[in-house]
Symmetry: C2
Subunit: 316 residues, 2 copies
């Protein structure tokens, strides 16, 4: 029990999840507590430090074995300085998070955004184990992403690398504006939000679909209807899959990863979705950039964040 351990912290709007990983990226222990954002900045900073110490105190490991603490958080930040420039839903905007936690914990701390950290988690301890380079997509409310090459995140000049949801991929003639202000972003069609929007549009304009009977349409309803043969729903899922597959074809000749990993709620559609994505990927990707490259489901689910946060310190 003298091995080094890595503590990961995944900060969300409702809960803060902490975990311990070993050198191999195995998640050994977790703890979760409420974020209680309404208590403000100081309270949340104390909670992070307390939860980190707590998960170790409840484990067979000692605080001395902790090589460092990694933190994943939604928002924009300076990764090197660990300074949070903006975090939606969290009272951590303009907070030097790394400095605070290093002082409180007396350990090196690294900070990154939630999508990158989830990608690193899958790459290190999930579906990307043992793979040289992976690109991860998280299909949720938006489309998140992260790129890991040789165990390290590609962060980009201003932290915008791996923002795969904002690949401008839908041609102008069929594009709509994205929440980011630009048009044609991948997440306008391939996120849960995008799928729900397309379904609502179809119902509103009177397309004949079983979805017109659903009171509050969720992405899962659309996928289920498509699986049951509803042609309108099939067209919507195919469109989401088309642009995902096409975006992977682009990424394949830009970073040429060995594996694409897809997680998030929409990915639960499973092979029905994946087979369509693979077909498009094969059609548009140069042969040499798809040889030996696979597209697989994420494995860690909600634990990707803590594992990846711990991974920030492992490959630091």
């Amino acid at each position: 029990m003298s091995d080094k351990i890595y503590v990961g912290v995944d900060i969300g709007g409702t809960a803060i999840k902490v975990g311990i990983c070993n050198e191999s990226g195995d998640l050994l222990q977790t703890y979760e507590g409420p974020t209680e954002t309404e208590q403000g900045t100081d309270a949340i900073l104390s909670k992070i430090a307390n939860y980190a110490r707590h998960v170790v105190s409840e484990s067979p490991y000692t605080w001395e074995q902790v090589a460092g603490v990694g933190v994943g958080i939604p928002g924009f930040m300076d990764f090197d300085k660990g300074f949070i420039k903006f975090s939606p839903n969290l009272p951590l905007t303009n907070v030097p998070l790394k400095d605070h936690l290093e002082a409180a914990l007396n350990k090196p701390v690294r900070v990154n955004n939630d999508a990158n950290v989830a990608a690193l988690g899958e790459a290190w301890g999930g579906a990307g184990r043992g793979v040289s380079s992976v690109v991860c997509y998280t299909l949720g409310t938006g489309v998140g992403g992260g790129i890991v090459v040789g165990g390290r995140l590609i962060e980009g000049f201003s932290g915008m690398a791996g923002e795969l949801g904002h690949i401008s991929i839908v041609p102008d003639l069929e594009a709509i504006q994205c929440g980011c202000g630009k048009i044609g972003c991948l997440e306008t069609v391939s996120s849960a939000t995008g799928i729900i929007r397309m379904a609502k549009d179809a119902v509103e304009r009177g397309d004949r679909t079983s979805l017109s009977l659903v009171e509050t349409i969720m992405a899962k309803d659309v996928v289920d209807a498509a699986k049951n043969g509803d042609e309108v729903a099939q067209r919507i899922v195919s469109r989401a899959a088309f642009y995902l597959g096409k975006s992977m074809a682009l990424v394949a000749v830009v970073v040429n990863p060995q594996r694409f990993i897809i997680g998030g709620g929409v990915s639960k559609a499973g092979e029905f979705l994946f087979s369509q994505i693979r077909e498009v990927f094969q059609k548009y990707t140069q042969d040499k950039a798809q040889e030996g490259v696979d597209i697989v489901a994420a494995e860690l689910g909600n634990n990707a964040g803590v594992v990846g946060a711990a991974g920030l310190m492992h490959n630091a």
Copy 2:
């Protein structure tokens, strides 16, 4: 004169160019000799070694100061092993180039493809000096590319990273097949070949354009006609610029480079082309991924290859 020097070799179908760089990426001395591919594999291997020794012997430096020899060559290869799998126009297919040269020169050798090496040259000693991450486009017969992050090339799982000419970016309805077999690749519209093809198509279908008077249309003719107000030529150049700018918008949220560098024959169109590319880039790129990011012309011209080849050893 006891500093380390780096030798770069740029192997082309007609000439082999060698050069010496210092630690800063300055090109100190060059030498060039004929490739004479018809003399076969052994002859070309001897030439490379001889030219490398020659350029140093004619310089104020000694062979002992050579930290290593880098080689850029068109084709597909295993970068780590330095094994050439296929090289068009050169008798080096299935040749363990690195092993041969290390034995002949008694120095460490690294091998990479010509597009990557040109990108590294610009990043290290050209338009990317002092910049953290650059993406280079070379607009010639095809569209070549290379991505340099933190001074190192992103090579990809099978060496296909930075193959920017094969980004599948033209929508199906207006796409044609690329030489690679796929459809909609960037180089079908934004290379010299693509521009010439679009011009010939316009002339053949009877579009009213001054290009119908040109016997053998070159890309420069199309650019010149566009600058002179020929609307058909303007549309062709704008289309080439549109997909270049749009591809950069994609790359901006995948690797988020600090600078895009454009070289190759077509880039000589200058600001006329660049201003159109920038406009498209600004339109389609998320604000945070374009802040502080610029699009500039390459600086090293035909020397990018030797400088980048030398750079393979500098950041090895």
